[in-house]
């Protein structure tokens, strides 16, 4: 079963500024901090970024599928962590209180967490067993 991760955040900057921070490579380099970035921010434009995260190098590849400035963009997203599956990252920017409510949805993720859940529950259940 593919899995979806959703994160929301309230930012003080307006949607136009947030949209630019995500889609202008010069800006992306400054906050996403990729060690390598290639980005053609248009529909069907390709992108590649490499990030260091938790002591490991993560190359990512994808394609922009929607760019609706300044309210929404969507890109496909493939990496080792997606097990070669073409996952989709959608970012919606809603004006709110003079700033922006950011809603990020990462869908189509492989359900390898399910395995972690199962292991975790087994561990909990066996520790309860130890109490007897």
């Amino acid at each position: 079963m593919p899995k979806t991760v959703t994160t929301t955040r309230q930012l003080k900057a307006p949607p136009e500024r947030v949209f630019r921070a995500w889609t202008d490579p010069a800006d992306v380099k400054r906050w996403f901090k990729p060690t390598r970035l290639i980005m053609d921010a248009k529909v069907d434009g390709l992108w590649h970024s490499e990030v260091e995260w938790q002591g490991k190098r993560w190359p990512h590849y994808g394609r922009f599928t929607r760019l609706e400035r300044p309210r929404l963009f969507e890109q496909t997203w493939m990496s080792e962590a997606t097990h070669g599956l073409e996952t989709v990252v959608r970012v919606e920017l809603e004006p709110k209180g003079g700033g922006t409510e950011v809603r990020l949805t990462h869908s189509g993720l492989p359900d390898d967490e399910a395995e972690n859940h199962r292991k975790g529950w087994e561990q909990i259940l066996s520790s309860l067993d130890d109490l007897r």
């Binding site: 930012l11 400054r30 906050w31 409510e101 990020l104």
Partner: protein, 105 residues
């Protein structure tokens, strides 16, 4: 024992509360600073904080008029196995975006 676990899991079954925990994992913070990060009222955030506190995941300390929040590590060590890698990844990246845009002002 199992009642405490039930409370921990129930407390973390909400994305806002997971985001609060993720923020506090980087260090203690003031209630007002945590609340400012979410698109909801201070009152709504306070309700989430109460759930986290009663589950024993978050501790509140008062110094003068300010309330500081910090994580309690022990219950979280077990629970960290359950949080998704990408949820942590995006939470960190959105923190970085927030910091970048704040610096600009």
């Amino acid at each position: 024992m199992s009642a405490a676990l039930d409370r921990s899991f129930a407390a973390l079954s909400d994305p806002t509360r997971r985001a609060i925990v993720s923020r506090l994992a980087r260090g203690p913070a003031r209630v007002t600073d945590v609340a400012a990060r979410f698109p909801m009222s201070l009152n709504a955030v306070s309700k989430h904080l109460k759930v986290l506190e009663s589950a024993g995941l978050v501790r509140r300390r008062r110094s003068g008029r300010e309330h500081h929040l910090e994580l309690r590590a022990a219950p979280l060590r077990e629970i960290s196995r359950w949080t998704s890698r990408y949820e942590r990844f995006w939470s960190e990246k959105l923190d970085a975006l927030d910091a970048f845009l704040e610096e600009e002002n």
